[in-house]
Symmetry: C2
Subunit: 341 residues, 2 copies
């Protein structure tokens, strides 16, 4: 019927469960049970209710429901940025997993600022969410207190090197850095430069590099240069940084904080006729799929971003799901040796 209404009657008054109940000839409570798939409802009654609801365009009001139950099928998600594929892939995993549980993500971008994260968390809590998904293990004390008091589930994604609030899902950044360092040493590189972005606000990249540098130095190699741009990662930035590093410190290898930068490095070398890895070796981090399309395969570390997001979301969405052992689920990394090292 073309006069179907959703959420309010023609007169502007809201359609409530009462209206549905009246039309279906049942009590309002029965409508509530049908809407939530709760309790046991006879098939005929259910059908009547569903029909009546559709006819008058009833839309379930979760505000009222959440008010009674003091929780909602919402999960707050804070990501540092949407400009980086890594986080959009994690977010896709989160979104997909939550969708299977009938839970909706409310999200915010922190721009790598813990203060911004704190403001977002406070805001999210005002919705009485089922839980939160945060990036990394670094948070303000206030965030920790708020979470403890709110008594909700929290997943921390991407980082494993530290103590989780409740459950962390990710990879050991330090381990990944050490693996790459050993690989570079194996290949004979000793004068290594490092290139990063985001003004060092990406703590995970920082941990990775520190562990990397320690192994290099222990083996007698040296970090001959180290550049961190303020801008977010991009191929263009990687190209610029590479030009700078090569010009000022002649490294025999460059370790980039991620694949975007490394890809830009390769583009620089391609454009300048610099032979890789003969003149300089290049390595990235993440194992993004775009690398497969480049003229040379860049050595990198693969991380299972979708799976991390998915499992982190399932932990907060489903209260019956146990926390991983020791509060940490390590997805592990895999060194992908290309032909740039």
């Amino acid at each position: 019927m073309s006069t179907k209404q959703f959420g309010k009657t023609k007169a502007g008054t809201r359609v409530t469960m009462h209206d549905v109940a009246a039309r279906a000839g049942v009590s309002q409570m029965t409508v509530s049970r049908v809407m939530r798939d709760a309790g046991a409802i006879s098939p005929e009654v259910r059908k009547k209710v569903v029909k009546a609801a559709a006819e008058i365009g009833y839309v379930h009001n979760r505000l009222a429901g959440g008010m009674r139950t003091t929780t909602t099928p919402l999960v707050g998600v804070v990501v540092p940025t949407l400009q980086n594929r890594v986080f959009t892939e994690v977010l896709t995993g989160i979104s997909d997993a939550l969708a299977t549980q009938g839970i909706r993500p409310v999200f915010g971008v922190s721009e790598y600022s813990l203060e911004a994260e704190e403001a977002l968390v406070l805001d999210f809590l005002s919705w009485r969410p089922r839980g939160l998904v945060l990036a990394g293990l670094e948070h303000t004390d206030t965030v920790r207190q708020m979470i403890a008091a709110a008594d909700i589930r929290v997943s921390e994604v991407m980082d494993m090197d530290g103590d989780p609030i409740m459950a962390s899902f990710g990879v050991s950044q330090a381990e990944a850095g050490r693996d790459m360092a050993r690989h570079m040493l194996d290949r004979g590189y000793r004068r290594i430069a490092y290139a990063a972005s985001q003004g060092g606000r990406d703590k995970r990249a920082g941990k990775r590099f520190e562990a990397f540098a320690a192994v290099i130095r222990d083996a007698g190699g040296q970090i001959v240069d180290d550049i961190t741009a303020e801008d977010p990662s991009s191929l263009v930035l990687g190209r610029q940084l590479t030009g700078t590093l090569l010009a000022r410190s002649c490294p025999d290898a460059i370790y980039f904080s991620n694949d975007d930068l490394a890809g830009g490095g390769l583009m620089h070398c391609l454009a300048e006729g610099i032979s890789v890895p003969k003149d300089v070796a290049l390595a990235g981090f993440n194992g993004l799929s775009f690398l497969e399309a480049l003229p040379q395969r860049i050595t990198t570390t693969a991380t299972p971003r979708y799976e991390i997001g998915r499992d982190a979301a399932l932990f907060v969405a489903d209260p019956s799901r146990p926390a991983p052992d020791g509060g940490r689920q390590d997805f592990g990394t895999r060194l992908i040796v290309g032909n740039t090292t």
Copy 2:
């Protein structure tokens, strides 16, 4: 104080405005006014209330508030995918704009399915949101009815070729296609192939190509081949599709449905020693920044994605903001002529 609590007392009972009011020595109503920055409050009273709230870790409950006002500072956002930079950039614009208005995005991914979009919209409405942001102009009838009945603001982003529900923000896909067609004709290309992804579910790309093809044919050129992969866009896919097209129909130019595919095309040519644009010309769509880092500048059409998301979000967030003239805000496109055509 280290026993600060957020959202509930030690005993597990919730902290409410009453508790804050009692501690501050004012009425609960006054606390409500302070929390919402509403009405007129004397500075001293405000300070007392803020202090009391912080001390007992009070978290504003928007469920209760929204229940009374029958609307909430939430906006539902449906994007087709997060795998494509285009939508993450639109989403960034949306997220940034909403943040300035104190509004939170609740989001869902439709995977280019109108049915999935419908389910998401129905779910969003259960939160009594301020408004919705949807991608494109194609929606199910039910979605249109639900929106009409809910009496909320809706922005449609990315597409301008059709009638908006209320306000559309984007570019004319048809116009962009025609511009590119004229450019290719100018350059003398007549045997043109088209490569797309997502199994044709991206209606905007479809409109663009139809307009493109019409101009080409009118001028005596021909679309010699047309391939649409099921997979989402990526450099790797572009590389594959290009290999297929070149092998089976010898086009003198390939129009890709977006920059990822076009970039992959360039990679294929680079790897195979095919000279661009001498052997084959390549063109994409969107003007993504990664193109600037590639060895050759790919001809493409620039679209202001961040701005589209930002303005679309501001329209739904701020009821005082008028709809654009004719319900459409055309951000225009700009042909970027590189050296691949």
